[in-house]
């Protein structure tokens, strides 16, 4: 955006632009009147205090249920000494917010949190300057509390001070921040921002957006991945009132005035497809990974194999988009974790420049790493272009579970040896296809080799909450349990003996203590298991208790200890831990994408079981608040210890070591 357009849009007030330190030209630290034509290139956030005193912060991060809107608002409230209600966040709008890579990898808290905090701290100091000048008082006498600027008998709201100002502060990202030990708003359980609109149904998700004259779009997908269109008879569909059929090579879509007609029109298309032969199915895919490994396969005959199935994110709101063209400019509302990535995709696929694409991301019905791309946005844009009207393209559940991407499946092979005293001597770890996250063991081993083997995936695969961290933790922590049992050592004692890292030890000890690990009773049909690990700046340990009856596993209780530096919002963190336990339990016990013949067989919720109320164990979380450490993200790592803790508990209950995710008892 051009600078003058930006200021025209904002009106008067104070603007704080946050740039990276590397930009020497913009890192002056002093106030400057906005005269340059373009905005700085490497802005990461900006903050505006308007003449009403309302604080608006612009960030490319998005809200997908992880409560980033709340935690970032807390950061601003903290540094500006202003109430949460006075702060509004504009998130993930490609025309209004600075560029951002996307909301993934638990990066919002450690990276965007400090950025926004610095912008707010600078705005606070600017308000102090303004007050000191206006009232002609010493700067040191001016303070800010509860959204008011004070000095002696002087008192003003932010708006009174910023009124008539057009002041821009461009600051380096190294300005000093309030230490976590002194936090008053951050670090507390501020209620979810926007929560009221969710309980009243007022919040408009992408799938709820309506535009004047909007049509409903549907897309014809092939019956198999990779099948190509041999012929298409569109006569019957086109005979329906208001229906338009669009065909461009393999892309076939319809638009209609209402969703029901669009569905009928789609069903009326007569298509013949050229079939393809599948290379693998869910039954033989693990051998397929090894066979297709790009750097060959491990040969150690002592390796123990673990497998992890493909699973689906199942965001309760499937992919959805509305696209609208004005002249040659495109506006798209869509639920995505990467609005700027979607802008780039649309620009490339539609062959128009990025400045003609505007992506708006309403807070979306979850993602878990599953909404990185703009499939629905692209389809809506093509159909809107062809029909000349705005088009809504909301995916069905079956489309979401077939044509999105999956968490990668994987084959993991492990071998470790012990010294006579039970310390690890060697460690060999091979991951085929599932990914590098948490590939390295956090335990101390003098001789280790850890490898990711890239392979071929018969299914489209991508990001997922925790990425391969869950798979790698499952294999490692199950195998650690096997090693402990092989020398008849308590699994907790065995891990502590092999872990020097104090943060890792702290979560293990905290979880074990809360769980009552050392005093646990041996009861027929019941068992307890433990697992621990580290990823994305967070340390996690989980203890699980299960009962096994008639071949069915019920998780009774989970205690999870988690440490991610200084805690920003304890209740929301506990909420994330609860959610991670639930989601982790699904992948541990029953979630699995079945596929054969290049088709997804488990393409709907009646064929793909996700965790429900009745599956929930009693969950207790232990948060270790390290105010001396920077805050790390918390949406992902708490999922990683669940599956191995459950698996190890199943072993204690039954003597069966289950090395597959999902875990299924034999007999």
């Amino acid at each position: 955006m051009r600078r003058r357009d930006f200021f025209a849009a904002l009106g008067g007030g104070i603007v704080v632009l946050l740039v990276d330190d590397s930009d020497a030209q913009e890192s002056g630290g002093g106030g400057r009147r906005g005269t340059r034509e373009a905005l700085p290139q490497n802005l990461s956030a900006w903050l505006h205090i308007g003449e009403t005193g309302m604080v608006t912060v612009y960030t490319g991060k998005v809200e997908v249920g992880q409560n980033a809107r709340t935690s970032l608002t807390q950061a601003v409230a903290e540094e500006l000494r202003a109430p949460v209600e006075q702060i509004r966040l504009v998130m993930g709008d490609t025309s209004l917010t600075p560029f951002d890579m996307g909301t993934f990898g638990s990066q919002t808290t450690p990276q965007m949190g400090p950025v926004i905090r610095r912008a707010a701290a600078t705005a606070r100091e600017t308000l102090v300057d303004l007050a000191s000048q206006k009232w002609m008082v010493e700067r040191a006498t001016v303070s800010i509390a509860d959204g008011k600027v004070l000095s002696g008998s002087h008192r003003a709201g932010f708006g009174e001070l910023t009124s008539g100002q057009k002041l821009t502060q461009t600051i380096p990202s190294s300005v000093a921040l309030t230490p976590a030990a002194e936090w008053k708003v951050a670090g507390t359980s501020v209620a979810k921002v926007g929560g009221r609109d969710m309980v009243t149904g007022a919040h408009k998700y992408a799938s709820d957006i309506k535009r004047p004259g909007m049509l409903h779009g549907k897309v014809l997908y092939p019956p198999q991945f990779g099948a190509t269109l041999a012929s298409l008879d569109r006569t019957a569909a086109e005979a329906m009132p208001g229906v338009k059929v669009v065909r461009e090579d393999n892309f076939v879509g319809v638009t209609a005035p209402d969703a029901a007609t669009a569905e009928k029109a789609l069903a009326a298309l007569r298509a013949e497809w050229k079939p393809v032969t599948a290379e693998a199915s869910s039954k033989d895919v693990f051998a397929y990974y090894k066979k297709n490994s790009r750097d060959g396969a491990a040969e150690n005959p002592h390796l123990t194999a673990y497998t992890v199935a493909y699973i689906a994110h199942v965001p309760l709101e499937p992919r959805a988009a509305v696209a609208e063209w004005h002249d040659d400019k495109l506006t798209v509302w869509t639920g995505t974790q990467r609005p700027f990535g979607v802008r780039s995709e649309l620009s490339q696929n539609l062959k128009i420049s990025e400045d003609r694409v505007h992506v708006i991301m309403p807070d979306t019905g979850s993602g878990y790493g599953g909404k990185h791309n703009g499939e629905a946005a692209y389809e809506a844009a093509r159909l809107a272009y062809a029909s000349g009207m705005p088009v809504q393209r909301n995916w069905t559940r079956e489309e979401e579970m077939t044509w999105a991407y999956f968490r990668p499946g994987g084959l993991i092979e492990v071998h470790g040896t012990l010294n006579p005293d039970g310390t690890l001597a060697t460690w060999e770890f091979h991951n085929y296809n599932s990914g590098p996250s948490a590939l390295q063991t956090p335990y101390d081993v003098p001789h280790k080799s850890e490898h990711l083997h890239q392979s071929k995936s018969p299914l489209r695969q991508g990001s997922y909450r925790g990425l391969a961290g869950t798979a790698n933790h499952f294999a490692r922590e199950s195998y650690m349990d096997e090693l402990a049992h092989s020398i008849k050592m308590d699994p907790l004692e065995f891990r502590l003996q092999n872990a020097r890292n104090e943060r890792l030890r702290a979560v293990m000890e905290a979880a074990a203590q809360k769980f009552g690990w050392k005093n646990r009773q041996q009861t027929a049909g019941r068992g307890c298991g433990l697992a621990a690990g580290f990823e994305k700046g967070g340390y996690v340990a989980a203890c699980a208790e299960v009962s096994v009856a008639n071949g069915a596993v019920k998780v009774l209780r989970v205690v999870e200890a988690f440490e991610c530096g200084a805690v920003v919002n304890p209740e929301h963190l506990r909420n994330q831990v609860d959610g991670a336990v639930a989601m982790g339990l699904g992948g541990a016990l029953f979630e699995q994408i079945d596929f054969a013949d290049n088709r997804i067989l488990s393409d709907r919720l009646s064929r793909y079981r996700v965790p429900r109320f009745a599956d929930m164990p009693a969950i207790e979380s232990v948060l270790i608040d390290r105010k001396d450490l920077p805050s790390a993200g918390a949406g992902e790592t708490p999922i990683m210890g669940i599956a191995p803790a459950i698996g190890n508990a199943i072993f204690e209950a039954t003597g069966q070591r289950i090395r597959t995710m999902p875990m299924k008892l034999v007999g």
């Binding site: 969710m198 799938s207 709820d208 199942v314 309760l316 019905g365 979850s366 909420n575 919720l605 109320f613």
Partner: protein, 157 residues
């Protein structure tokens, strides 16, 4: 079959012109712009589309609009018509019983119907009464707390 011309929604008679075979979900969302009722699966597995029909929690994705023309329908938009939240809505906010919030309208209406049926449910009754609802974010323990708290408050509007 005759087209459906009227629907009694949230205390008002609304004019529509719908094929009776269409789902109530689609009519609510597309014709009446009551988008608080959500699509989640289209096969009655997730209950995101729950509305109250004559007080009963009902999955609107499986309900043909022709079958409810004479009935009283309440959607999430009708639960706090004057802006004053229903005790169940208050309890969900208080317990932080949501993350992305997409399942929340259906969850809340399911809980309202449960508390009408069973004003003082045990935790086991809450779990079995709500088990048809999916929260993919996994806020189940908090939903149970919210329903329990709403029951203590009397649970009804």
């Amino acid at each position: 079959m005759a087209r459906v011309r009227e629907l009694h929604v949230n205390g008002a008679q609304r004019h529509i012109n719908a094929d009776p075979e269409r789902t109530l979900l689609s009519v609510l969302r597309d014709d009446l712009d009551l988008t608080g009722t959500k699509y989640g699966c289209g096969e009655g597995q997730c209950a995101a589309c729950t509305v109250l029909i004559d007080g009963q929690a009902t999955k609107s994705c499986l309900t043909k609009v022709g079958t409810v023309a004479a009935k009283r329908i309440v959607t999430i938009e009708g639960l706090a018509p004057e802006g004053k939240l229903h005790p169940v809505q208050e309890a969900f906010l208080e317990a932080d019983a949501m993350q992305c919030g997409y399942c929340t309208p259906g969850m809340i209406l399911g809980a309202v119907a449960l508390l009408e049926r069973t004003p003082h449910p045990s935790d086991a009754e809450i779990v079995s009464g709500m088990n048809g609802h999916i929260c993919r974010c996994g806020t189940y323990p908090r939903v149970v707390s919210a329903v329990r708290a709403a029951a203590k408050q009397g649970g009804r509007a």
